[in-house]
Symmetry: C2
């Protein structure tokens, strides 16, 4: 490289660094220029393979960073998660350059990845039908793909996922014989837990073929077929009357344009006398979800602000009785997932390819960083119909009526990994 | 009364009954017509003194009912609270007759009773400066005029008010030496509790002259002058930096138009590293507050929906960490207040007049009914600045680290009623 191009590269790198809000990182072109903010020691180094990558980052960093990382055109030297944390932190105060471009591109993605029934099928299929064997490599043994609840930061992931299911059931104060509808049930663990531990009947909906297939096997193996029905269909196909509506980790796939519809479906299911729980990734203030994530990982996803999500409950006069923010629990969950994922990377590479591994590493590490710095939050909302009493007088029973559910459940579900 | 006018009265009464959504009540003109919905046994009877009252109810029931009740032109035979509950319940499904009129009249009231600094002073003065002796007749012995927290429904009001203050302090995890700013401090009980039991320094603001005067006496009597400063001023006058922002029962007086300003003041006080708690009367969905209540009891008051209140925290990227709905605790609090108020009605009549007694009975009974049926909710929101960790890992310590605060405090503050 000559001297002039090196100066040009340096100028571009400085512009990129400025656009990050002067994040404490080092940016370099392999074998060429490198920059970092004055007076700070960088937490890690981002090495760009060539000038095309540099140009991409300059034009549309939101998508280009991820795509170039996937393609091996960007390498990170140092702590990857820490780098992403510092980037997110700095970018909160960054100059809002080219926001019009990002907004426009985001709108275009919304249209392209619409969440109509057929659009949702496509969006969900592309992520959740990657193959159960893949998810078994790095999720807990009951396959829960949502934020866990760690009684202590040192709890195991397996323990924390059972504790999460039980926390949900307790918040709803499920009673034997009651009926529950679940919108978006993953591989069925929560539906089975509710039926097994609380004696309720559950109708659980999910458009993912692979997930429903395994969930049905599990219900049969546990002899819970008479009380848990897994239906391979969209949440919009929910019909019938229930005591309780539950949705854990599905709202992110509904999309703002369909909140009114979602609200109607909740009301159609539980009316004014029921109760429900929504568990979802949210934000402190409205923002669009990363275009790279929507392009490569979660098509059609939208992460709402808490007030936007609560607007779902307003038209039907539902009373919010409890909101809990479990942000740090999702960070902890993601630490476990990322660690297990890294341990399985040979197998994942064999299943897919190294580009896939790099994309998923960025997704998991990026989500972990986002929960750590507070760009993402995890909300559990409990609500009741306008015609019924609150669920609890105080929250005391949630914390003082301890029963050793977790260990009991661990014994019962040891079979899970042996299956299919 | 001739036969024709009696038929005419009956026709009007039926129209009024229809406008209530056919509430299960009996409506009668004294010595004349009376109506009730077919096939139900009425819970109580509303007797109108004369035709003027009847005409008033027909034209503007929202204000006329209360005014006529105040003036003794309406008598209620039977359970007053139960009557109001049934009215509120039925009116949720009532035909929305003359809503344009109500909206217009409501807008006009908003303008008339504005919450600018001078408007607020007038609004607050008219309610909270009625005289401390009046409030001592029916509040608890520490004079808390906000929703209590009843560990059990049978707890005493005195116990429940201390438990409420402690619940607030625990949710915020106050640490000795921290600084707290309180927006709207009533007679100072919470500020004193925070300083005495948690070792923090408090600056507490309130525009009510009478309340601040007593609060200062109490701080002096407790020897807490060095750590609690009571300032007779508007929340907009808050200056300085604090670790914690607390506001209990004040947001109702801020007014929607001033939420942005309120948001700025919170941020100016605690920045991105602080934490805070808002405790306020809210709703499930947006509505205007009763015009009668605003005319006679709480000028300038507005009761926000939960999403509307949360919008205060959005612009500054505050994270909501906990929302608790204590609706039934406010119903229980109001049961105690109403009962004590009725026991003191001779004294209140002597202080003011029977019109005042009737107005306040309607206000207390109406609020009790509104909390019971769910027209009103009580929310406690805990939030943290975008640059700090959540306050708790789980909520367990709130419920399991029990210390016998309540009884200890009861001993210490026995002096309260002896004062001024």
């Amino acid at each position: 490289m000559g001297l002039l191009p090196r100066f040009a590269d340096e100028w571009v790198l400085k512009r990129i660094l400025k656009a990050t809000g002067q994040a404490p990182i080092r940016l370099a072109v392999r074998g060429g220029a490198d920059v970092s903010p004055a007076g700070v020691s960088p937490v890690a180094t981002v090495v760009l393979e060539d000038r095309d990558t540099l140009a991409g980052l300059l034009c549309d960093p939101e998508v280009s960073f991820g795509d170039a990382y996937m393609d091996g055109k960007i390498e990170v030297q140092g702590d990857f998660v820490r780098l992403l944390e510092e980037l997110y932190r700095a970018m909160e105060n960054a100059p809002g350059a080219r926001k019009w471009y990002s907004r426009l591109a985001s709108k275009w993605l919304d249209l392209w990845q619409d969440n109509s029934p057929s659009g949702s099928r496509k969006n969900i299929h592309s992520h959740y039908d990657l193959g159960n064997d893949f998810y078994k490599l790095w999720l807990d043994d009951q396959l829960l793909y949502t934020c866990a609840y760690f009684p202590a930061p040192s709890s195991t992931l397996e323990h924390a996922q059972i504790a999460k299911m039980d926390h949900v059931c307790r918040k709803l104060r499920l009673q034997p014989g009651e009926t529950v509808v679940e919108a978006g049930c993953g591989w069925g663990a929560l539906a089975l837990h509710m039926a097994r531990e609380y004696g309720v009947s559950v109708k659980a909906f999910n458009v993912s073929r692979e997930q429903i297939a395994l969930a049905r096997e599990r219900a049969a193996a546990e002899g819970l077929n008479d009380r848990v029905e897994f239906i391979q269909d969209d949440y919009r196909a929910i019909s019938g009357k229930f005591d309780v509506f539950v949705s854990v980790g599905m709202l992110e796939h509904v999309g703002l344009d369909h909140y009114r519809e979602f609200s109607e479906i909740i009301h159609r299911s539980i009316g004014d006398h029921g109760r429900g729980l929504l568990h979802f990734i949210g934000r402190n203030c409205p923002a669009t979800y990363s275009r790279w994530m929507r392009k490569q990982i979660f098509p059609g996803a939208h992460i709402p602000s808490l007030p936007a999500a609560l607007k779902i409950l307003e038209p039907k006069d539902y009373a919010v009785v409890d909101v809990e923010n479990l942000r740090m629990h999702y960070a902890k969950t993601l630490e476990h997932w990322l660690e297990r994922f890294e341990r399985s990377k040979q197998q994942v590479t064999a299943m897919y390819d190294s580009r896939f591994v790099r994309a998923w590493r960025l997704y998991l590490a990026g989500s972990l960083a986002a929960f750590r710095v507070g760009d993402l939050q995890l909300f559990q909302i409990v609500f009741t119909g306008s015609e019924r009493e609150p669920i609890f007088w105080t929250r005391d029973p949630l914390y003082t009526d301890t029963k050793p559910v977790v260990e009991k459940v661990r014994e019962k579900v040891k079979w899970t990994h042996a299956m299919s």
